[in-house]
């Protein structure tokens, strides 16, 4: 397929894929590779440095950092991937319907959706968490709500352009029902910018979840999450630098890879967009 060949040629795509694929694999293979149970405490070896038994050392409860690292990817990825999917579905639907309907109805839908943008994202997330509790499920809902407007905006403006095209007129003229026109003709033609946004939203979602976990408002202990580990590690900077180092590195690499993937997709799917990077 031509698309695949283009992907492989793009350096950013290859780099991000190299980073992201192992990370995604970690989700499934983590439990298999991990040498210890991430919740198991070994009180005789707290805050130890790396050793054969504990490749990255232990935390303040004597838990294996390496194992926690491997398990920690799951909640972050769950929140990021499922939440983004939710935002993508909701946002695209709202944006396309609003764009196709046009007029007052369309504007009204978009105004309502855009009120979410009045809040800085982390504030809204904190508010939801404060009231409805923490945990992966609530975080997924928060991410989906927070990023719906981004997808909606893109879907809306693209739909406005596509809707005027004569091939859409033709679909209507042959008697295709409105859902058929929206799903079969408009949606495939507004997909490219939405896919780019998926990648960028995933990286924002990872940042958000890890930030919340860092503050103690995300994934709750004892279940591990990278942001949470960093938060816990901060009191022990001078004692065991590895504690804070490894989750930080993994987090940064993942976010960087997701961002680069977004750039790569932009290069591949829409070369008309000016080079912003």
């Amino acid at each position: 397929m031509k698309m695949l060949a283009q992907c492989v040629k793009n350096k950013k795509f290859v780099f991000s894929a190299i980073v992201l694929i192992p990370i995604l694999l970690m989700i499934f293979l983590g439990p298999v590779i991990a040498p210890h149970d991430p919740l198991e405490m070994d009180t005789s070896h707290t805050l130890a440095g790396s050793s054969p038994a504990y490749p990255m050392g232990t935390d303040e409860y004597g838990r294996c950092i390496f194992s926690r690292l491997l398990y920690g990817v799951r909640p972050s990825m769950q929140v990021a991937l499922v939440g983004t999917l939710g935002a993508f579905v909701a946002g695209s639907l709202l944006g396309i319907v609003a764009g196709y309907a046009g007029g007052k109805a369309g504007s009204l839908i978009m105004r309502c959706v855009e009120t979410i943008l009045c809040f800085p994202s982390i504030l809204l997330a904190m508010m939801v968490v404060a009231l409805f509790g923490t945990g992966v499920r609530n975080l997924i809902i928060v991410v989906a709500i927070l990023y719906t407007p981004h997808f909606a905006r893109i879907a809306h403006s693209s739909t406005l352009k596509v809707r005027k095209m004569e091939y859409v007129e033709n679909e209507v003229s042959i008697g295709a029902s409105t859902p058929r026109v929206l799903a079969g003709t408009i949606f495939p033609n507004v997909l490219s910018p939405l896919i780019i946004q998926v990648s960028l939203t995933i990286s924002s979602a990872i940042l958000l979840e890890s930030g919340l976990s860092f503050l103690g408002l995300g994934v709750q202990p004892p279940a591990p999450s990278w942001g949470q580990m960093i938060g816990d590690a901060r009191s022990f900077l001078s004692v065991n630098a590895m504690y804070i180092f490894w989750p930080s590195l993994c987090l940064c690499l993942t976010i960087l890879a997701a961002n680069l993937m977004g750039d790569a997709l932009r290069d591949i799917l829409d070369p008309k967009l000016k080079e912003s990077f």
Binding site: Y167, E169, A176, P188
Partner: protein, 329 residues
């Protein structure tokens, strides 16, 4: 008149011009203003006029893509505007359109196969893949497209080929009437002839009736049996093609014809240059729409709108200059 396929009665369509903070209506564009005409089965009815005269709006209104504000559109005697749902859907397969821009009239995400098959699929959900392919190939053959192109994408084709795909799509459901909205305006001159010939060819083979819309009078003349001239939303003249070309009664038509560079015209036609500004379609002149630019305009022209009247058999003009010649329709 022969068997009338399409009978358009006093169709009007206005668009509100929005502006201001709350999208208040600032005025109305009278895109189509009290238009009436009839199209015989089997003929090519030409519709000519400059950009902005309302031809495209009219064509969309005929196909029920937009809803006219008033009037009747009788297709085979039945009013399309009164139809809904299933009935309208069945009628839709009998009136199709060939669009102007080859680059935006085809879905870039679909293959030729999918584009041509789409109308067939909409009207027959249960058709099998093999049967569908057979029909698509037949249609491609009729328009002169090689069967090897069936799985290619629109961007791989030239303008002329894309129009062929559009035409194949239009004849897919064996329609009665095809509205050709500037089908060759975006093509190179050499290709234009090919497509026009294809259209003529298909008309015979498939028993088609055409409404042929264009701003190019010579192309319209070449294709049409009868021609209607539109100006700012109204029809100002309808006549047989040859008669119109020779005698052009309405001052606007005369000006249009004079602008055609045609070395074959024996007595060199004097180029009529229109003076005055084109009135804004939002605030059309009270009387005759053309009065602001017409050399023969009188006070009456500015105050009253002339109606489309027969001046002789099969020749209608909307102009006070000829009123004495014709009676009421």
């Amino acid at each position: 008149m022969g068997d009338i396929l399409l009978d358009v009665h006093h169709v009007s369509k206005t668009f509100p011009v929005k502006g201001g903070m709350f999208s208040r209506s600032k005025g109305f564009v009278h895109a189509v203003d009290d238009v009436s005409f009839q199209v015989e089965r089997g003929e090519t009815f030409g519709l000519v006029g400059e950009s902005g005269c309302g031809k495209s709006t009219l064509s969309r209104a005929l196909l029920q893509l937009i809803s006219a504000d008033s009037g009747e559109i009788l297709f085979e005697g039945r009013d399309l505007r009164a139809m809904k749902g299933r009935e309208l859907q069945t009628q839709r397969s009998r009136m199709r359109m060939v669009f102007q821009k080859p680059f935006t009239s085809l879905d870039p995400r679909r293959t030729v196969r999918e584009i041509i098959a789409a109308p067939i699929r909409v009207h027959d959900r249960r058709i099998g893949a093999a049967e569908l392919e057979k029909q698509v190939l037949e249609l491609m053959d009729k328009v002169g497209l090689s069967p090897t192109y069936i799985d290619r994408y629109p961007h791989e084709f030239s303008g002329g080929q894309r129009q062929r795909i559009g035409i194949a799509r239009a004849i897919a459901l064996d329609p009665e009437l095809i509205i050709c909205d500037e089908p060759v305006s975006a093509l190179d001159v050499s290709i234009q002839a090919q497509i026009l010939n294809l259209l003529k060819d298909l008309q015979q083979k498939q028993n088609l009736t055409y409404i042929f819309i264009s701003h190019n009078l010579s192309v319209v003349n070449h294709m049409s049996d009868r021609i209607a001239v539109m100006y700012l939303g109204s029809i100002v003249e309808i006549a047989k093609a040859d008669a119109l070309y020779e005698r052009a009664m309405h001052p606007y038509t005369q000006a249009l014809l004079s602008a055609i560079p045609d070395p074959s015209i024996a007595g060199k036609r004097r180029r009529i240059i229109l003076t005055g500004d084109i009135p804004s379609p939002v605030n059309p002149p009270k009387g005759c729409r053309f009065s602001t630019r017409c050399a023969h305009a009188t006070e009456r022209c500015r105050a009253e709108r002339p109606r489309l009247l027969d001046v002789e058999e099969g020749y209608k003009v909307a102009c006070f200059l000829y009123e004495s010649k014709g009676g009421l329709k």
